[in-house]
């Protein structure tokens, strides 16, 4: 049953934590919360850490079963289907956003005229193949790619630190708490990535202090991500609303870096690797849902159906990132907030029921 090690599980959690956080999300939050954007981000990270904690506890306490079986046992078949369907809808929306983000990134930084078909073919193939091969292959791939992401991220961040003034967005709460709260709930969509970790129930080989290690490393990752967000906000200041792909734009902020195109490529590779990895995890999650619902032996068919759905949705919205951004910052963000709250409650119920069962067993 076990497919990935604790180390691989933590790396998947790190990739999910980083995905989209340093790209479009920063501009979205800033356009709503203005100078208080960083506080909104901190609040959402706290929420995501709570979610990670709840999920890791559930994973730890249920080593012998998968998510669908667990839900069926505790919430009946209908309940399990409803929960799975909600998770599936979120993942599908997240997948569409991730693909669109990746496609827009290619358009903005690499090719100014790039057919969505040409983009779709290799992207769907690579991410689909990774997801199809299962958690073990996914974990191993991410174990290698994570180092490129982290090193690239470090170089991208360090190169323009000199432009920081530390006070660009101060004082905070100048217009009360309302912009910050508005920014928080409108960006929750980006902080539900960790819901994907639920699909690793029963697939992790635990090491000592599994929960502590996972939550601790995720907390450190969150702190570092918040620090990078702070740096980016500080450098761009009030012009942040014009910056869509924040990390890449930040890495090229110094006008003289334009002379060396290498940095553009480095940040492009980091962003692409980050998004590819996260997308693969989303596809994996959707594959697992499809497998449970359609009762197929392999995840191939569910993955193909998901791709067709993603492609159809992207065609309907005309491959426009801004349309998607409008959608995710309104209805979808509110729904994600609800879904995260629901997942935390479900995790708590699962923990309580498990404890009651254990006590019954002892008696």
């Amino acid at each position: 049953m076990t497919e990935i090690s604790t180390r691989q599980f933590i790396i998947i959690a790190i990739v999910l934590l980083l995905a989209s956080k340093l790209d479009t999300m920063l501009a979205v939050v800033y356009s709503v919360a203005s100078t208080d954007a960083i506080i909104s981000i901190i609040l959402n990270f706290v929420l995501e850490l709570l979610l990670i904690f709840a999920i890791t506890v559930v994973i730890k306490r249920n080593p012998d079963t998968n998510l669908f079986e667990l839900l069926k046992k505790k919430f009946t078949v209908v309940g399990a289907y409803i929960i799975i369907l909600l998770l599936g809808l979120y993942l599908l929306a997240r997948l569409v956003y991730c693909y669109q983000e990746l496609y827009s990134f290619f358009l903005e930084f690499l090719y100014d005229d790039f057919s969505p078909y040409i983009f779709a073919l290799p992207t769907f193939f690579v991410t689909g193949y990774l997801a199809f091969k299962g958690a073990r292959s996914l974990g191993r791939t991410l174990e290698i790619v994570i180092w490129f992401i982290l090193i690239g991220l470090a170089i991208s961040v360090v190169c323009n630190v000199e432009y920081m003034s530390f006070v660009s967005n101060m004082p905070y709460f100048e217009n009360g708490a309302s912009p910050m709260l508005d920014g928080t709930w409108r960006s929750t969509f980006f902080f539900g990535n960790s819901l994907c970790l639920l699909f690793f129930v029963g697939k992790v080989k635990f090491s000592d202090h599994f929960i502590g290690k996972t939550v601790g490393i995720c907390a450190i990752t969150s702190l570092i991500t918040v620090a990078i967000c702070f740096i980016i906000y500080d450098v761009f200041g009030y012009a942040m609303q014009y910056v869509i792909f924040a990390l890449s734009e930040y890495a090229q902020y110094d006008p003289f870096i334009l002379e060396l195109q290498r940095l553009t490529w480095l940040t492009a590779i980091v962003d692409i690797a980050k998004l590819f990895c996260a997308t693969s995890v989303f596809v994996y999650g959707l594959g697992q849902i499809g497998k449970s619902v359609m009762k197929t032996r392999s995840t191939l068919i569910p993955i193909i159906i998901n791709f067709l759905l993603v492609f159809s949705i992207a065609t309907i919205i005309n491959y426009d990132l801004y349309t998607l951004m409008d959608l995710v910052t309104s209805v979808f963000s509110f729904a994600t907030l609800g879904l995260i709250a629901l997942t935390i409650i479900i995790c708590i119920i699962l923990m309580i029921k498990r404890r009651q069962n254990e006590q019954k067993f002892i008696q």
Partner: protein
């Protein structure tokens, strides 16, 4: 059995779908045949229309970066329209990923610049770190001149801007920083003034609207004019001109050109910028136990600055404490004799004279900022952070958020030590 068949149908459907979209991938023209690369832009205003000039490199297979650049110009009611016409002229899509700078003439800067630059900052084509350069002459002529000398690194706009940013004033403007400053409460941005002078020392590069610019202009529909030419032509023979930055800085308030600071004024402003080092300070008629009526010049090697903000009696006050590390560069006696003394020489009289000089400079900065209303050092933010409530009360009492600089006072306190 039926499940297997269903699986196979799906797989065949996907393969068919992939095959159907494949021809569009194969049947694509080469990038060089449909793209032209813009390496620089110049914006002027003629007869109420925006005149866009683009320095264009048309890529050829096996071509080199140093191949000849072409200047293409078109006017239109909007930048977008003019750029579309330029594309029509070139017959290729013009792309701006390699556009290093946008030169803006004073005719453009007299109106709100953000109306024009908004097109670039929102568009996905141009880098947000593209350098903005102001010129008090024709932007088109300056760009045309750089087309000739592009391979000469010394006479390159980028090199000059880079030097300026490092030694004359900190943080020059790029597209995004301009918008950051424009949107911030102090609404003040600045950029270098780069001009041209000919061999005789006079300013070169006349108004291209009047002189016809390079190649002469033709009429387009709706009064738009256009021309495309190699950069070597032109009424003013721009080859004889030299690109020059004499340290002038264009200050923008609310997107419009507020004042062109002279070199002397820019040096005075630099006394409030902790990041600008290697400032040269000259004091005259110094008499102490060693010298009589001497002229001394020092270079500021270290610039320790501490700002204190307070609002007393509804008057925002800034106290700047300087701790300067100086090195004597030149000591000249009244009789013209140069005295060989230690470069560490600093006396109380010298410190007094330097202190007076800095105070005078800072007072002049206050006067200029109060007169034109701009706030080059974002004192708004500093007051807002350091004395938030008092500052908000001050603004409320003032009733006019925009003229807050008129009551701001700056006091200085200078200590000096020798430094190498």
């Amino acid at each position: 059995m039926s499940k297997n068949l269903f699986n196979k149908i799906i797989i065949y459907a996907v393969i068919l779908f992939l095959l159907a979209i494949s021809p569009s991938i194969v049947n694509m023209p080469s990038q060089t045949s449909v793209r032209a690369i813009c390496t620089g832009l110049a914006l002027d205003k003629e007869n109420g229309q925006v005149s866009v000039s683009a320095q264009i490199l048309i890529p050829e297979a096996g071509g080199q970066y140093t191949q000849k650049l072409t200047m293409v110009n078109h006017s239109g009611s909007t930048v977008e329209y003019a750029l579309k016409q330029i594309e029509a002229q070139v017959g290729k899509k013009v792309r701006f990923a390699h556009c290093c700078f946008i030169i803006l003439s004073d005719t453009v800067c007299n109106d709100n610049l953000t109306n024009i630059l908004d097109y670039f900052v929102r568009g996905n084509n141009i880098g947000n770190n593209t350098i903005l350069i102001y010129t008090d002459k024709s932007a088109k002529d300056l760009l045309s001149h750089t087309s000739n000398v592009n391979s000469n690194e010394v006479d390159n706009l980028q090199v000059i801007t880079k030097y300026n940013e490092k030694h004359l004033f900190s943080n020059g403007a790029n597209l995004l920083s301009f918008f950051d400053d424009y949107l911030a409460p102090h609404h003040t941005a600045f950029m270098a003034n780069i001009t041209m002078k000919n061999d005789s020392g006079q300013s070169g590069g006349g108004d291209s609207g009047q002189s016809g610019g390079s190649g002469g202009s033709g009429s387009g529909s709706g009064g738009e004019s256009s021309d495309a030419s190699s950069s070597t032509s032109g009424a003013n023979s721009p080859q004889q001109d030299t690109i020059l930055s004499d340290g002038q800085v264009a200050v923008f308030y609310k997107g419009k050109l507020a004042k062109l600071l002279s070199n002397e004024e820019r040096e005075q402003f630099n006394w409030l910028d902790p990041e600008v080092l290697d400032t040269f300070i000259k004091i005259e008629n110094v008499s102490d136990k060693v010298f009589e009526n001497a002229t001394l010049a020092y270079t500021v090697r270290q610039k320790g600055m501490k700002f204190e903000y307070e609002i007393a009696n509804n008057t925002p006050t800034i106290r700047v404490h300087y701790d300067l590390g100086l090195r004597a560069e030149m000591i000249l006696q009244e009789n013209g004799e140069s005295l060989a003394v230690n470069q560490e020489y600093i006396s109380d009289v010298v410190v007094d004279a330097i202190s007076r000089k800095i105070d005078e400079a800072v007072k002049n900065v206050c006067k200029i900022q109060s007169e034109y209303g701009f706030d080059l050092f974002n004192f708004y933010r500093s007051f807002n952070i350091n004395c938030h409530n008092d500052w908000q009360n001050y603004l409320k009492l003032l009733g006019d958020d925009e003229n807050y600089m008129k009551n701001v006072q700056i006091f200085t306190d200078v200590t000096c030590h020798s430094a190498f």
